[in-house]
Amino acid sequence: MKFGVVVFPGSNCDADCYHVIKEVLGQEVDYIWHKQTSVAGYDALILPGGFSYGDYLRTGAIARFSPIMPAVIEFAGQGGLIIGICNGFQILLEAGLLPGAMLRNSSLKFICDTVHLKVRRDDTAFSQLLKQDEVIDIPIAHGEGNYYCDPETLEELKRENRILFTYCGSDGEEDHAFNPNGSVANIAGIINKQGNVLGMMPHPERCSEPILGGMHGRKIFASMLQFMQGVKC
């Protein structure tokens, strides 16, 4: 399987994602420069974290106008798997591939930490190697991860079972006390209607090897791989 990591000016987790795909999963992977206009030949795309264009206007707001984005949107429309991590999630929101918007963390501070997430579905392309209601530990690092959407959209996300990850306590307690950034309904990651686009604030690429203190992230990438192999075989 061949992954593409889209690189915007200011992306800074591109090399980390590349490393996991190549060295941990042992799959083919390329960087895709944002000025390219095609994603032909790739089985899955990663929009990595970072500060695209310095995030000076609003996170992800300028990146969505990059020349590569029409191809990314088309790829999504054709059912290709896309995972947007942190700034990548913010770009997916700005590009309209996922609903909602990102606000500054309620603390008004950047936060880097490891948090607990509850896995709400194990039947998606991104979570089939995880278990429903499993609690996973995963690093976060963001200044604007306070996910917001209007009540109707939230209802829709819930009704369509599109909330994939929520912040929780170590035993899965779904209390606002475990919400690091103030996001609506403790949302950490959501998928689109078709289930082929995931946006998440936490960083799975930072917990895909034992030396970094965790392996839960690897299961997310490995789920994508297994899903693609299953579909294509």
């Binding site: 000016p9 987790c13 996991v20 500060f51 310095g54 501070k109 950047f110 880097c112 970094l212």
Partner: protein, 733 residues
Amino acid sequence: MKELSYKEMGLTDEEYGKIKAVMGREPNYLETGIFSVMWSEHCGYKNSRPLLKTFPTEGPQVIQGPGENAGVVDIGDGQALVFKIESHNHPSAIEPYQGAATGVGGIVRDIFTMGARPIASLNSLRFGSLEDARVRELLSGVVAGIGDYGNCLGIPTVGGEVYFNEAYRGNPLVNAMCVGLVKTDEIALAVANDVGSTIMIVGAKTGRDGIHGATFASEELSEKSKEKRPSVQVGDPFMEKLLIEACLELIKEDLVAGMQDLGAAGLTSSIAETASKKGLGVEVDVLKVPRRETGMSPYEVMLSESQERMLIIPRSGAEDRIKAIFDKWGLDAVNIGTVTADGVFRVREGEQIVGEVPVMELTEGCPVYVRVAEEPDYYQFCRNYDLNSIPECAPQEALEKLLASPNIASKKWIFNQYDYQVMTNTSLIPGDGDAAVLRIKGTRKGIALVTDCNSRFVYLDPYQGGMRAVCEAALNLACVGAKPLALTNCLNFGNPEKPNIYWQMKHAIAGMSAAARALDTPVVSGNVSLYNETAQGAIYPTPVVGMVGLLKDIDRRCDMAFKDVGDLIVLIGKFRDELGGSEYLSVCAGLETGRVPEIDLNEEKSLLQLIQASIHEQLLQSCHDISEGGLAVAVAESAIKGNIGGGIRIRSNGARVDGILFSEAPGRVVASLKRANMDRLVQLVVEHGVEMRIIGAVGGDHLVFDDDGREIIRLRVTDASGLWGEAISCFMK
């Protein structure tokens, strides 16, 4: 902009006279400005150079010592670490957010200028008391500035230190360290080799910000300093990120003959330093320098400290390829001049020559001052203070107070604002071990990084304190399993023209040199920040040490957390109980005095080797050096990190219990280990000639200390954790 006199630029009458003699005429305004910044302490090290020459700078591990943008040490496999620490104190005192942010920007440029990929940042910070609202504001601003800049660059901020003391009330210290990884055959130097080479400027456009920043950094802070806010630059981390990627692409393609960042004193200093190495000259045209403001004079262009700019001297014929790479990253690269043979720094404004200065006079010609050193009155007074006259504080109460002291308490509030994991190398995160550990991808190796300086010790006894900073940094590295390789330092002192301050500098540097020699950790780079004074007086002398170490096998690293019930707790090193200069005296008696516990460098060396060997043989479960707060705090921190208690027995035999519990005497470590490993550890201890005693065992949910059976402390680990974990965030709410 109002014209300044040479005195306002920071030059003395004598120095101005020397400039006239060198020039053979009156220098014009631009030329005077060029001399004034190049001869400032910040650029010219005129008060510190003779002392800096006493540092050991060589060793088989050293690839590049002082004199370049950063030092370089060999880590094997054709790889090297490039590192340096630098101050941004004065700007941060006036404008904490931008001051700290641009401090990070500057040190990161020093690293990638050498062709290295920056892989980690650390910072060493000093503030006044957190009781003070202005200090809390400074801390918030500095931490946000460091975080926002480093986070955006995607360089993890993995370690450092923060101390609070009234001595820094009006003059905080912000020292930033950066470490880069480079292939030894890709190291780039800041040197102009060939006459006729083009000189290019790339990155941000030049504005009026930061003019005379280097001069500002070389004088005392006063009420008037606030007026110098325009001397503080504004950072653009996104621009810097693009510069990093573009410059590293140039190096990969071998397109660059010389590269230099524009830091203090801007174009002036980077051009002078690049040209002077081979005794060449330079001609630049200020009209070609891209500007973001109109009507800038040659003086303003040459002295601007606008951030995120680089000077590139291309290899012959590489200009077009270089422009193409910068274009890919959306950056302009502009030819502004050429390297000449005549040794003259010539500035043009179009056709007109607006300044001509001999290059060597700017660098080598900088005056050097050996100041008068005089022992201050406080020194003997503090040394002879009778600490036995101080009543003992109840052990439990003292431990609780110490755990909640901001100097000891968890720095989580701070490092949670730094992305410490990006680049996915951080294998020991901030607070988990005595030093940060990063893996080197594609190898089994790891590197360990730390900064250290207990400035209270340096104040009370500069020689001992200087030694201590080096020894403690080395011990921190050993405690995570690394062999210390080399160090960088940031020498923060008051006004060197004052004999008591110069005395502090002289003795602190002598102490650091002695320790660096004994431990084989040469000084490969550094920075000097003097004039850290306000109307209230000078800061504590603060020579911060940044040290790097190597782990051959990163799987054999060690953190500070107690692990399993039944593990034995040992005190490795001499049994000592001196309280001079301790945090205990400060917190419990309100005193910062006493004789600083002395260091035996031979003992330090043996201890370092023993700890490295023990961790390499995987004998230890946890390892933590004894520093602020003494034995009791070291044990408590290991318990808190492991979320498990422990029982400790001391035997005072009628001596002072507080000395045993809270002494910060050097050369000591608290470790825990499985009982099965004890025999082998004892063998190693004997082989290395180090003392060791078993002081307790891990287990339970309390920290319990007894004095030969009489319980003196009983503290629930979760309570200790609360005190230690929340102290700083409570202040900052």
